[in-house]
Symmetry: C2
Subunit: 432 residues, 2 copies
C-alpha cells in the first residue's frame, strides 16, 4: 500500500503512476482459442464433446450436453432454503431496478410532414457464460440474466463448465430464478464458439455476455462481429472517499471486500484526514488476521492499494474523475452533494451505511460494471445492452419535395450520383 | 446478380450462401498499425509529424497541426451557398431528431427506504475521425458530431488527413456547423494514436468514432479499452422490399445508391412479383449507362446483388430478420404494418417516396448504422453512444437492516468473507 498526499510536490507523478499501473497479466492464448473456435465451427457437437472431455474431464454424448429440468429441480432442492430466499430477494430487487430501464419508442411527424421514429426491440437470443469452479457466483447469474429477460430476450442460453461433472447447485437455482431457458454443461472457448456459431444441439445466439477466464475473454473478442459481446471485464476496483466521521474498521472492511476478489484488484481510499487514513490502514491489517481470503486480499492491498490524502473532500472530485472507478463509495456526511459533482464512476454507494458489497447482491443496480478507467466512456450492464434501436423515416410526395432537393444537392457534391438519382427521379428534378 | 425463389427446393441453401457471403477483404495491417501507435505513444507530436510527412506528403511543425479558425472561415467562404444551406438544413434536422434521444435520470426511494438511481452523464471528450480523399463526406461529419454535441460532449476533436495539403472545404464547413471544437490535419493510425494517448498538441479523448480505412479500423480496435470506440463499419447494404405498385426505375435507383458506394456493397430486392423483379433488373442496367460511378455500382450489383421472389410480402419478414439489413426500404402500400413485424434492421424507410438516400443526408436519423447482420444486436449511432450511466445506491441503518442480511448470507455462500464482513460490521451481526 502506498500513501499519496495531494499537496506534495511529486503528487502528480505518483498519481499518474497509480493510474497507469498495469494490474492485468496478459495471457497469450489467442492462437489456441482461434483453433478451438474453428474446430467447433467446423465439427459442432463432436468438437464440443471432445474439448469437454479434455478440459473438464467429463465424458458426454450430445444428448448429455443439456442440463435437464430434473437436474435443476434436484439442485434447487439441495440448497439451503435461507440462501434460496436470499437469492429470491436479490432477484426481485434486481428485476424491479432493471424494469425501470425499459426504454420507450418515439414516433412523431415533423413540421414538413415527415414521419420519424426510433423503435427499440430486444435481441432475440442471448448467451450467458458462467465460469465453473471457485468463480461460479450465483449472484452473477442473476445480474447477467435478469436484464436480458427484462429487455424481452426470448431465448436466454446459459453455458457453465462442470469440471469433473460437478456443478454449484446455487448457480442452477439462480438460473431457474432468473428465468434462463436452456443450460448446457460446457465452458471455455468451445462454449463461446457453440453460442456464436451454433451446433446441432446448441442453436446460435445473437449476443454473448458474462465473465470468464483468459480463454473465454479471447474467444469473446474473436467472435465479436458474428455476435455482440459485453465488455471484457478487468480486475475489480473500489475507491472509497471517507472523512473521519467513519469507523475505520468499516472502511477497512470495504477496501478488503474488493481486495479479496483477486490479487490484481485495487482498493483506494481518499480522505481529508491523514490520521484517519492511518487508522484505516491499521484496521485493514487487523481484519486480515481473520479473513478466509486474507492471502489474496493482503497481496492486492500491498501491491495495488493506496491512501490518498487531500486538503478537503471537494479536492477528491477531479481525482475521482481521473480514476473513473468501477465502484465509488462516498462515506461522507453529504454524499448526494458530492455524487452530483462526479462525472466518471460505474456505481456510486452513498453514505456510511452503504458498503459496496450490498450492491454486489441485493441493492438492485447491476454489479457488472466498467473497470480499468472505462467508466469514462462505458456503463454497467443494463436492459439497453439487450436491446437495439431501429430508426424509421417516412416521406410522402409533399414532404420529399420539402427536404429531397437538399439531399440531392449534397449527394451530387459528394459525387454520389445514384443517391441523387434515387431522390431526383421521385421529384422529376431531371437529374442525371 | 442472382435470383432466388423462396419456394424453390434449393432456396435455403442459396439464401444461407447469400447471408454468409464474405464481402470484406481483410487487409493485414495490424503489425504496422501496432508500431505506429507505439511510436505516437512514445514520441507524440514528433511521430505524428513524421508520419504525416510520409503518408500525406505534408511537412508540418507542431504549431501547424491545428486547423485555425481563419482557415475554417476561408473554407466556408469558398463553398457554394446552396450547399451550405443544404448542410444547415441537414444539421438542423439531425439535431432535432437526436435531441429527442437525451435520456432522463431516474431517482427513487423503494419500499424499504433504499435510495436508488440511474444517472446519465456525457463523455467529457470525444474524437471524430474523418477520412481524406474521395471518402471525405461532409454528411458523415454531421452524423458523427451532432449526436456527440447533443449528448453534451464538452470537447469534440476532429482529425482529418489532408493529402498534399488539400482539404475538402465542405468538410470544414460541416465541422463548423456541427460545433466541433478542435480540428487537426492528421489521419491514419497515427491520428487514432494521438486521440487515444495524447501528444503535446492534441490532448487525449475518452471515445473515438468515425469511419476510416483498414489502418484506421485496426488502430481503433487496438486502442479500444484505453478509449471507447464506435462499431467498425463494414460495406454498406440495402434491402428493398417492393411490390409491383412501384416504378421499377425508382427501385433500381435505390438499389444502385448503395451499390455505388463500394464494390463490396450489397443491394437486395425482395418482391412478390417475379416479373417486377425482372423489370427492376432491366432498369438497373439502364441506369448504369449514365451514372458517374457506374463501374463500381455494376461490380457490386453483379457480384453481391440479389432479387428474391416470395409468394407474398408477409413471407419477407423472416428473411428480413435473418438478413438484418443496415438499410431496409419498404416500398409497399402499407409500410408501417410491415415495419411493425420486423425485428432486425438498422433503419427502415417507409413507403414509395422515401428513398434511402434521403436518410443519408436530411431525414434526421443517423446514417451510421450496423452492417454485416449486426443489426441483430447493435444500433445506429446516437446520443447514448456519447453518454454513460452511473447507478446510485444509498442505505441508511434501517434499510441496510432490511436487505443487508441477505447480502451477507450470499457473500458467505460465495466464499467472500470480507464482503460479508463489510455488511455485518454495520449490522453488528457478529460475522467473522
Amino acid at each position: 500500500m502506498r500513501t499519496l498526499v495531494s499537496t506534495d510536490a511529486d503528487f502528480e507523478t505518483a498519481f499518474a503512476a497509480l493510474l497507469n499501473m498495469k494490474r492485468e497479466t496478459d495471457e497469450d492464448v489467442d492462437s489456441q482459442v482461434a483453433a478451438i473456435l474453428a474446430d467447433v465451427r467446423r465439427r459442432g457437437d463432436a468438437a464440443l464433446i471432445e474439448y469437454t472431455a479434455r478440459f473438464d474431464r467429463l465424458e458426454l454424448n450430445a444428448s448429455g450436453l443439456a442440463i435437464t429440468a430434473d437436474e435443476i429441480e434436484a439442485a434447487c432442492a439441495s440448497c439451503d432454503p435461507n440462501l434460496l430466499s436470499a437469492l429470491e430477494l436479490a432477484a426481485a430487487r434486481i428485476r424491479a431496478f432493471h424494469h425501470r430501464q425499459i426504454p420507450g419508442d418515439d414516433h412523431f411527424v415533423d413540421d414538413v410532414g415527415v414521419r420519424l421514429g426510433l423503435r427499440w426491440t430486444a435481441v432475440q437470443a442471448a448467451g450467458l457464460y458462467v465460469p465453473g469452479g471457485t468463480a461460479a457466483y450465483p449472484s452473477s447469474v442473476l445480474m447477467n440474466a435478469i436484464p436480458a429477460k427484462a429487455a424481452g430476450v426470448e431465448r436466454l442460453v446459459m453455458v457453465v463448465p462442470s469440471p469433473g461433472g460437478r456443478l454449484n447447485p446455487l448457480v442452477l437455482a439462480a438460473a431457474r430464478i432468473a428465468g434462463i431457458d436452456e443450460i448446457y454443461r460446457v465452458g471455455g472457448a468451445q462454449a463461446i464458439g457453440a453460442l456464436a456459431y451454433g451446433t446441432a444441439t446448441i442453436r446460435p445466439v445473437d449476443k454473448i455476455v458474462g465473465p470468464g477466464n483468459a480463454y473465454v475473454a479471447a474467444a469473446k473478442r474473436r467472435v465479436f462481429g458474428t455476435v455482440g459481446i459485453d465488455m471484457i471485464a478487468g480486475p475489480s476496483e473500489i475507491l472509497v472517499v471517507a472523512d473521519n466521521g467513519n469507523d475505520p474498521g468499516w472502511i477497512a472492511a470495504d477496501l478488503l471486500s474488493q481486495a479479496e476478489h483477486d490479487t490484481a484488484a485495487q482498493s483506494i481510499l481518499i480522505t481529508d484526514d491523514a490520521e484517519f487514513g492511518r487508522r484505516v490502514a491499521q484496521a485493514v491489517d487487523s481484519h486480515l488476521k481473520t479473513l478466509s481470503r486474507a492471502a489474496i486480499a493482503r497481496d492486492s492491498w500491498d501491491r495495488h492499494g493506496a491512501v490518498i490524502v487531500v486538503p478537503s473532500l471537494a479536492d477528491s472530485v477531479p481525482l475521482i474523475d481521473r480514476i473513473a472507478p468501477e465502484h465509488l463509495e462516498l462515506a461522507v456526511a453529504e454524499p448526494e452533494a458530492l455524487a452530483a459533482r462526479v462525472r466518471n464512476a460505474g456505481a456510486i454507494f452513498l453514505g456510511r451505511f452503504t458498503p459496496e458489497a450490498v450492491g454486489d447482491y441485493v441493492g438492485g443496480p447491476n454489479h457488472v460494471l466498467p473497470t480499468a478507467r472505462s467508466a469514462r466512456f462505458s456503463s454497467g450492464l443494463g436492459v439497453l445492452d439487450f436491446m437495439k434501436r431501429t430508426s424509421l423515416l417516412g416521406c410522402d410526395a409533399a414532404s420529399l419535395r420539402a427536404i429531397g432537393p437538399a439531399a440531392a444537392r449534397l449527394a451530387e457534391a459528394e459525387g454520389l450520383s445514384a443517391h441523387g438519382l434515387s431522390v431526383g427521379i421521385r421529384l422529376n428534378l431531371g437529374m442525371e
